[in-house]
């Protein structure tokens, strides 16, 4: 169903693509249809590599967006793995069950693009694959440029095989690819979609800016993006300190800890969830509080706003 927020997934098949890349086919543990995976979307897995430890890792869905009976993800075994990719590569077996949040995307296709240029750096190809699928269904002109190491080229080419795209351009190494050449001379109304290492994305943004691309035509996906800094919160009267992670809101943390907190819109607009701030600076991200209220610094909306420092003390009405 479309409205599930947490999914129980079963590993139906694992393909070894090369020494460091594996593809996982995931189906719903209950056999029902899965929520649609939007173009450019990722699944955030809640992994239990060891008892009592939960790590959250996000991987892009590479299966076409129309498919509802399974998802495919590709996981690179990272040398500096925090445990997530190591766990996928070494511990996850066919038939295992995994928990994930429903797919989310912060990368979407611009509906009026005259032409789309997709640029991927290495494993950054993964969110680009489902984006390409949606762009092609819209019958928009498209170019794909992939920059990767020599050892990955065959595996990444194979990933794109289903896409039957005329001439994806492969470059072995950054030095063999001139972003300026790719971006120059493109028609007005061209949109850029970039996913890869931070330096590559920044470089493309700079070149695009110099060439006069409007910033609204440049779309980047930063892998493993977080909502903000982690911080600690004391709730007055509860004698309890809780930790808000990089990828969760204060409201979600309160709920996870079983602390009752009011809410309505969960998007910083209605003001139902406002709590009193006793101590600490707030990074206000809502549309509800007035400038005066922000300046006074004694209240915040926990659904979207965060601590600007490391700690806050709040009181719930």
């Amino acid at each position: 169903m479309i409205f599930q927020s947490e999914l129980d997934l079963k590993v139906a098949r694992i393909d070894v693509l090369n020494e460091t890349l594996k593809r996982f086919h995931l189906v719903s543990a209950g056999g029902e249809f899965l929520p649609p995976a939007p173009p450019g979307s990722h699944l955030t897995f809640l992994l239990n590599p060891r008892d009592g430890e939960v790590i959250k890792n996000s991987y892009s869905v590479v299966s076409p967006t129309l498919i509802r009976d399974h998802y495919e993800i590709v996981v690179r075994k990272a040398a500096d793995s925090r445990g997530g990719s190591k766990f996928f590569h070494e511990d996850v077996k066919e038939g295992n069950l995994l928990k994930a949040k429903a797919p989310r995307s912060n990368f979407s296709v611009h509906s009026l693009a005259r032409k789309s240029i997709l640029i991927a750096g290495g494993i950054g190809i993964t969110p680009i694959i489902s984006l390409l699928d949606e762009i092609k269904r819209r019958r928009c002109k498209v170019e794909l440029h992939v920059i990767c190491g020599q050892s990955d080229r065959l595996a990444l080419e194979a990933l794109l095989a289903d896409e039957a795209l005329a001439g994806p351009n492969f470059y072995e190494g950054r030095n063999n690819c001139s972003i300026g050449k790719i971006l120059a001379g493109q028609p007005l109304g061209t949109h850029l979609y970039i996913c890869g290492p931070f330096n590559l994305m920044r470089h493309v943004q700079e070149v695009a800016h110099e060439l006069g691309y409007p910033s609204s035509n440049v779309h980047i996906e930063s892998f493993g993006a977080t909502i903000g800094n982690a911080f600690n919160v004391k709730v007055e009267g509860l004698n309890k300190e809780i930790s808000v992670g990089e990828s969760e809101s204060l409201l979600e943390t309160l709920e996870r800890e079983g602390i009752e907190a009011p809410f309505s819109c969960r998007g910083g607009a209605c003001g139902q969830c406002v709590v009193r701030v006793v101590e600490g600076e707030v990074d206000h991200r809502d549309f509800f509080l007035s400038d005066e209220q922000r300046a006074a610094g004694n209240c915040m909306t926990p659904c979207v706003s965060r601590a600007s420092g490391r700690a806050l003390t709040i009181a719930i009405k």
Partner: protein, 351 residues
């Protein structure tokens, strides 16, 4: 299982009537004894103060008749369904969402079978059975958006999210409260809401557009809006103003109870997955003042809200001409007793 009233009319002889059950499930819009614009948004989850909130897309006893009324409007004026070319992906997203919700919430009335090569859709109340290929519009009798919204109650709008803004780039609008889709299509969210008084100064629409743009799919939200309509007429469009506008001067002390209707829109916003567009569903409900006065809490509160309504809001909603008559009529049901917070009827039976 819903018993459909299959031959109601929303024009000419106006045979539309609410059953007792339909009155009790009406989404009465006033949380308290006065009314002002606010950002009254909450998550669109199943369940709420009345039966109208039980499912994602509410189907009630008027379903068959409302679909027939929509077909009549479209026959006279096909421009009531307009979708700009770049919204085709959003059209399919809408069809999938509505079919999936109806089939899962009302399995006795609707079925959706997804075979590997084609989908089969069964709509029993409208006697439709059709196989088609998802994504191939040549396998449907009309565009996917028109196809599914001809089979759903309420109006629907498609908003494209691009350039950090929202644009109204499509809609099926046959039961609107005095506006025109053909005039508005392609406008940005703020342009589209320009005629609304007071709310701009309050910053409501800027908040709303920012809020909608950060919506995630799978987490729809809802709010209520309201106005009043003379006769149970769904098509109060700007295009047809000459047909229904003069009715506003036909309200008298004698006919107000049966002729004047409180019109409530249960509006929900849905992020769509592949297009990243936002579907806005506007599910309209009508209840006559006679209907409302059978629920004591609602009758008391309606009297107080209309009596104290800001004159600019009354003007904008087109009710200034008969506002005093409404206040006078509803006063007989207001004994001054306090009303409980919230919109629930506080009764299981009507008086």
């Amino acid at each position: 299982m819903t018993q459909f009233k299959i031959d109601e009319t929303f024009r000419d002889d106006y045979t539309f009537r609410n059953s007792d059950g339909a009155i009790l499930r009406f989404p009465f819009p006033f949380e308290q004894d006065d009314y002002m614009y606010s950002f009254n948004v909450e998550l669109h989850r199943k369940g709420g103060p009345t039966g109208a909130y039980e499912n994602y897309f509410d189907i009630d006893e008027h379903y068959v008749s409302e679909c027939r009324e929509r077909a009549l409007v479209l026959l006279q004026d096909p421009s009531r369904c307009l979708v700009l070319d770049h919204m085709e992906s959003a059209e399919w997203d809408t069809l999938e969402l509505i079919m999936e919700c109806l089939a899962s919430d009302y399995p006795e009335h609707f079925e959706l079978h997804r075979d590997p090569d084609s989908w089969r859709w069964i709509n029993r109340p409208l006697e439709i059975e059709h196989s088609f290929i998802f994504g191939d519009r040549s396998t449907l009798p009309c565009s996917p958006f028109e196809y599914i919204t001809r089979q759903a109650q309420g109006d629907f709008l498609l908003q494209d999210h691009r350039n950090n803004n929202l644009y109204i780039d499509g809609g099926m609008v046959t039961s609107q409260a005095d506006w025109s889709l053909e005039f508005d299509v392609g406008m940005s969210f703020i342009e589209w809401h320009a005629p609304v008084p007071l709310a701009h100064e309050m910053g409501v629409f800027e908040s709303a557009v920012n809020y909608l743009m950060q919506m995630e799919y799978g987490i729809p939200v809802r709010r209520l809006n309201w106005t009043m309509t003379v006769n149970p007429r769904l098509d109060t469009s700007q295009e047809n103003y000459p047909v229904w506008g003069p009715d506003r001067r036909t309200i008298t002390r004698q006919n107000i109870g049966s002729k004047l209707h409180l019109r409530v829109e249960l509006q929900a916003a849905w992020r769509l997955p592949r297009s990243n567009a936002i579907l806005f569903s506007v599910r309209g409900y009508l209840a006559s003042l006679d209907d409302i006065s059978r629920v004591p809490k609602w009758a008391r509160r309606l009297h107080r809200v209309i009596k104290n309504l800001h004159p600019e809001i009354a003007d904008y909603k087109g009710i200034s001409g008969y506002r005093d008559l409404v206040t006078e009529h509803m006063a007989q049901f207001d004994d001054g007793a306090p009303t409980s917070p919230g919109t629930q009827p506080d009764t299981k039976t009507l008086i």
